[in-house]
């Protein structure tokens, strides 16, 4: 009701000062990201090295995604956030609405062996206002200890198969990605998913498929919930962000298994908020974050694939445990074979209507 009290779920975390450089206050940028283990990887891989190298302080804030705060800041004309890590759908929308600075890919440094950034970034990762950061994916995972049958889930259809794998499922309480999953499970070829969703019959088919497991679904909101629910045995399988599952696997030794079949691959975007008084510093940060070295430092900490080819080629082993990163990467050759590229533009067109339909469906 009152937008001053609406939950600004961000936290002021750290102000990274550079030792011995005597940074003055004006030379600092505020970089906003998702927090959690991903936020830590960004801190270690980008923020701290950037502050040390450039002498520009980095104020780190966490948020929960979305454009609301950016829009509020731009409308009032008081920009506190300079750089924000956005989902691509929001980056495109924010760009269209004039909330974000337009970026020029030619300003970014080339790869170490001289390939210009425009060719080095994978197709579709660099947009008008957003620099591609990392591929992340929505997958489903199960807890090996809780699936006692001989055969283990291996396809998206298994997620919807209550006969073979009885038990509760976790799904994110939004229509996007669940509709895709339902159609993949129903046998729609991976390259036909969005074409099918564009027909009324296709949508009915998706909801009919979702109906089959509706009674057994526990809906989650925050990315931290699925690993928790899997560990507690609250659900036997759950859709989840692949990085969260990876974290639980390697850092907490959880017996989780990711099923890569039908994974939905999306790309994160780093954007600059329109009208920031610290544009030069923000651009400098962006250039630094775009370097293959910075990207691979992040990807060696959490299993999200760099948007640049040269960055991906530098990814090797996990810094804390030394395990090979390749099998955990959503965009690795083996895992990408059964992936669907998330079509943000379809959702930009249909979000409002789909959300109403999904909410009505949930309430039935």
């Amino acid at each position: 009701m009152n937008y001053c009290t609406k939950s600004f779920a961000f936290l002021f975390v750290v102000l990274l000062f550079v030792a011995g450089c005597g940074t003055d206050e004006s030379r600092s940028v505020t970089a906003v990201s998702w927090g959690g283990s991903y936020g830590r990887a960004i801190n270690e891989g980008v923020n701290i090295p950037f502050a040390e190298e450039s002498g520009i302080g980095v104020v780190v804030e966490d948020y929960n995604g979305g454009l609301a705060q950016i829009r509020a800041q731009v409308e009032i004309g008081e920009i506190h956030w300079d750089l924000v890590d956005l989902e691509i759908a929001h980056a495109m929308r924010g760009c269209d609405e004039g909330l974000l600075e337009r970026l020029d890919i030619n300003q970014l440094p080339p790869s170490p062996d001289g390939i210009p950034a425009a060719e080095d970034f994978l197709a579709g990762t660099f947009t008008d206002c957003g620099m591609g950061t990392f591929f992340w994916s929505m997958v489903y995972a199960y807890n090996e200890e809780n699936i006692l049958s001989e055969t283990k889930p291996s396809t998206m259809a298994d997620f919807f198969d209550l006969n073979t794998f009885p038990g509760r499922r976790g799904m994110r309480r939004v229509p996007q990605m669940n509709i895709e999953f339902a159609l993949i499970a129903d046998g729609v070829p991976l390259d036909q998913v969005y074409a099918t969703m564009s027909t009324p019959d296709g949508l009915d088919r998706a909801f009919a498929k979702l109906d089959m497991i509706k009674e057994d679904v526990i809906w989650w909101e925050a990315g931290a919930q699925p690993p928790q629910m899997l560990a507690d045995g609250e659900v036997i399988m759950s859709t989840a962000y692949n990085g969260r599952i990876f974290n639980a696997q390697v850092l907490e030794d959880q017996p989780f298994v990711i099923v890569w079949h039908g994974q939905l691959l999306s790309i994160g975007q780093m954007v600059i908020v329109a009208g920031t008084p610290r544009l030069d510093e923000a651009l400098e940060y962006l250039k630094f974050a775009s370097t293959p070295e910075a990207m691979s430092r992040v990807s060696n900490r959490i299993s999200y694939s760099p948007a640049r080819r040269s960055g991906a080629s530098l990814v090797a082993t996990h810094v804390a445990t030394g395990i090979e990163m390749e099998p955990h990467m959503p965009a690795s050759t083996a895992n990408v074979a059964h992936a669907v590229r998330y079509d943000w533009s379809w959702w930009a067109d249909h979000q409002d209507q789909m959300n109403e339909r999904f909410s009505a469906w949930l309430a039935q």
Binding site: M1, N2, C4, K6, D96, E97, I218, Q353, A360, A363
Partner: protein, 406 residues
């Protein structure tokens, strides 16, 4: 501020000014943090100039359009020009997202049209626009532009009440699979009412116990009420998850004592039950504290007097104690109910699919869909309900009966 009678001229005026100076910080604080944002949001629910500002001349031409046939070439030419201009001024995205709310798919159609129109210098516009995207051959797009072009609009309120206006001017209910808000509103009121009743049933005996205890024991009991009150809301909600989830403490206990089988564990969280239990716990102190403060002013000797005059305990309670505790009941119930209908975090965390309240939808439209007009309209409806309830309460009991003690 000036009173009808000036008692001592200038000094009275100065005293008033001084008094005003003392309350000024509070007054400014309330205006800045409460009245102004609330006002802006309510204005947003009926005022939306984005499309009107971007397409002024197109909308003027559409004034005498019948809403059924396709408009003439001149309108296409004008909208093409205004689309290009909005593209240059970077307002087209906001226009597109508004039009898209009337009909899905128009967002990308409009932005694509803008991109491709850059290559086109002259007409026929209708033909080239239809080639770019076939939506321009459908009168629905023109209706969408025309309705979103109304500067002052009731459409957010229609939407909030599960209604829609049609091209012929009539207002009808939304199709079945898009009706969500009224049901949600009704559920919010029902759950809030139930929580209020539960809080009263649980809180009344506690408050009575505290009021009747010796000071040292009352202190201890009050602390027991206040410690959860001071504990973070998130901590308390998470604690309920630990207790109530399928593999949680309560279910484990019930399975261990053999009351339920391992396969028949109860679903007590991530549904409406979870919302009701957690919210009742969270809001309980708001019931207990006003009750306690009213009850502590009721002399305990009155009950003894009633008994000595031959009243049974039930009679004494109903005729002596209960009427005197009513102001506390009213205050507590109103407080709990009003807090409950605007509650947001607890249902979001433990509500699952059927324990969501209207405030969760408002948050969604504030933060994710960025449909602030609709969020404001939903908030407006909620505000209206609170005001109506308050008025009803006032009519029935009188506001002066609300006692917060003291």
């Amino acid at each position: 501020m000036a009173g009808p009678i000036k008692l001592s001229g200038g000094s009275g005026y100065r005293a008033k000014l001084r008094a005003l100076g003392l309350v000024a910080p509070l007054l400014i604080f309330i205006v800045v943090t409460f009245v102004a944002p609330l006002g802006t949001m309510l204005v947003r629910s009926v005022y939306d100039p984005v499309v009107a500002d971007a397409f002024p001349e197109t909308l003027e031409l559409l004034d005498d359009w019948d809403g059924l046939a396709l408009p003439p070439e001149a309108v296409y030419a004008m909208v093409a020009r205004e689309i290009k201009r909005a593209g240059d001024e970077r307002t087209l995205g906001q226009v597109a997202s508004r039009v898209n709310r009337v009909q899905g798919g128009l967002r990308s159609a409009i932005t694509r049209t803008e991109r491709e129109l850059r290559e086109i210098e002259q007409g026929p516009w209708r033909e080239s626009m239809t080639t770019i995207d076939s939506v321009w051959a459908d009168s629905a797009v023109w209706y969408a532009i025309k309705t979103t072009g109304e500067r002052f609009t009731a459409r957010h309120y229609w939407n909030a009440l599960d209604l829609q206006s049609l091209p012929d001017g009539s207002v009808v209910r939304q199709p079945e699979d898009r009706r969500i808000y009224l049901r949600l509103l009704w559920r919010t009121l029902m759950i809030s009412g139930l929580i209020t009743v539960l809080c009263l049933i649980l809180g009344y005996p506690i408050a009575h116990l505290i009021a009747c205890s010796s000071p040292s024991r009352a202190n201890l009991l009050l602390i027991l009420v206040l410690v959860p009150f001071w504990t973070s809301l998130l901590v308390r909600t998470t604690a309920w998850i630990v207790l109530l989830q399928t593999q949680g403490v309560l279910n484990e206990f019930l399975v261990t004592i053999g009351l339920i089988s391992d396969g028949g564990r109860l679903a007590m969280i991530y549904n409406m039950t979870g919302t009701i239990v957690a919210m009742t716990h969270v809001l309980l102190p708001f019931m207990v504290l006003p009750l306690y403060s009213v009850m502590s002013s009721i002399p305990s000797t009155q009950m003894d007097a009633a008994a000595s005059l031959g009243a049974t305990p039930v009679q004494a309670f109903l005729r002596v104690y209960w009427p005197q505790s009513l102001p506390g009941v009213g205050a507590g119930a109103l407080l709990v109910f009003i807090l409950a209908i605007g509650y947001y975090i607890t249902p979001a965390l433990v509500g699952g699919s059927d324990g969501q309240l209207i405030s969760n939808m408002i948050a969604y439209h504030m933060q994710t869909s960025l449909n602030w007009g609709l969020a404001a309209a939903l908030g407006g409806v909620l505000l209206l309900i609170v005001l109506v309830l308050y008025a009803v309460y006032e009519r029935l009991l009188g506001v002066e009966k609300i006692g917060l003690g003291g």
